[in-house]
């Protein structure tokens, strides 16, 4: 079977980079939110005791 050239088009490549950037930003903010939430939960629990 003839092998085709192994590459993505420039448009696809840009699109993939854009999507990965979007995911990375979302993961960053999710982790940041979780850190804040865990910190707040810990403070509230310590205050109770």
């Amino acid at each position: 079977m003839a092998q085709q050239q192994d590459h993505l088009s420039r448009a696809d490549s840009k699109e993939i980079a854009r999507r990965r950037r979007g995911r990375s930003i979302a993961i960053f903010f999710s982790l940041l939110g979780l850190c804040v939430l865990f910190y707040a939960i810990a403070i509230i629990k310590m205050a109770r005791h």
Binding site: Q4, Q5, A17, G22, L37
Partner: protein, 332 residues
């Protein structure tokens, strides 16, 4: 996510080969396969289903006796939402074959090729485990346990066991969607009492007429996918009768909070009016113009109206439960 596939252009614009193992044919067929956008990952969490889950969970939390810090309450509701989304993602992973055959679900991220199945499974399992862990850390063992049971029930009992085997799938499986008010209550009290079980029963008995109304006008989709929904197995006429039966049964169940003294007469009036409204819609479904096999000659207009009304019915019932408690607290 297929992170072994790298961008084909360096920053300076030079073309770059992909790692071996990726054929050109594969890439030309689906160049962006597995490269989902953020909205695809959100779609995997079934946000529309999540809305009602969060709402009923929040009501369970608000009406429970006792106090809870607002941030802990926020964490509990977040866990309920994430757990529901996680169960939805695992459901989409398991049902990807039938989703691809149904018009309503063919454009979901997995059948459309935007998210790879194993990535969806990993995403769902991770979120499910995290939601139970955080719920335990933020609230208590009872809430975390019921949350875990609700996820396991939805995934193993409904999705993997019942959905493809019996027309009773959404009757028994409906229990999975009925857990949120119990979880909300347990997050505050650390226990499960009669009242949250009544809230559970309301959602449990509301689910069949709600889903069968949808199944009446989407039965072609279910038949194509081989899902034994009631209209596919027993026909439209029997489904109409069952919708009527469950809707009549639902009315006294929605009155139980008043009967046990948890809600006041104002709630009872609202629940009665809503119940009668739902029965009226079920009656229109039952008496819809049909051919000999019970198939609607009106494009299932009454079933569509009953489905929409069922959403309003449940939302207003739970809002009324919360408002009634609020007013009782303010006046008494």
């Amino acid at each position: 996510m297929s992170d072994n596939r790298i961008a084909a252009f360096e920053p300076d614009g030079r073309e770059q080969s992909l790692p071996s193992g990726h054929s050109g044919a594969e890439n030309s067929a689906l160049p962006l396969e597995g490269e989902a956008e953020l909205r695809d990952w959100i779609a995997l969490l079934k946000p529309r289903v999540m809305t009602l889950v969060v709402f009923t969970g929040l009501i369970g939390l608000l009406v429970a006796p006792g106090r809870i810090h607002p941030i802990i309450a926020f964490a509990a509701v977040l866990c309920i939402a994430v757990a529901a989304g996680a169960a939805g993602a695992i459901n989409m992973w398991y049902d990807r074959d039938i989703d691809a055959r149904m018009r309503r679900t063919a454009s979901r991220p997995i059948p459309a090729g935007r998210i790879l199945p194993h990535a969806a499974l990993g995403f769902g399992v991770t979120l499910a485990a995290a939601s139970v862990f955080v719920m335990f850390q933020a609230t208590n063992l009872a809430a975390a346990s019921v949350l875990a049971i609700s996820i396991l029930f939805y995934v193993f009992v409904y999705t993997m066991w019942l959905k493809r085997r019996t027309p009773q799938n959404i009757v028994i499986g409906g229990a999975a969607g009925a857990f949120p008010p119990v979880i909300g209550w347990a997050a505050v009290t650390g226990s499960v009492d009669l009242v949250p079980l009544i809230h559970f029963a309301i959602i449990f008995f509301w689910t069949p007429p709600h889903f069968w109304s949808l199944a009446l006008y989407a039965h072609g989709d279910y038949a194509r996918a081989g899902v034994p929904m009631l209209p596919v197995v027993s026909g439209a006429r029997e489904t109409r009768r069952q919708i009527m039966g469950y809707t009549v049964l639902l009315l006294p169940i929605t009155l139980l909070p008043w009967f046990v003294g948890f809600s006041g007469p104002a709630y009872a009036v609202v629940a009665t009016l809503l119940g009668l409204g739902f029965i009226y819609h079920a009656w229109l479904v039952l008496t819809d113009a049909q051919d000999e096999s019970g198939v609607s000659l009106t494009g299932d207009k009454p079933a569509r109206a009953a489905f929409k009304f069922s959403l309003l019915h449940l939302a207003v019932i739970f809002a009324a439960i919360a408002l009634d408690r609020l007013l009782t607290g303010l006046l008494g």
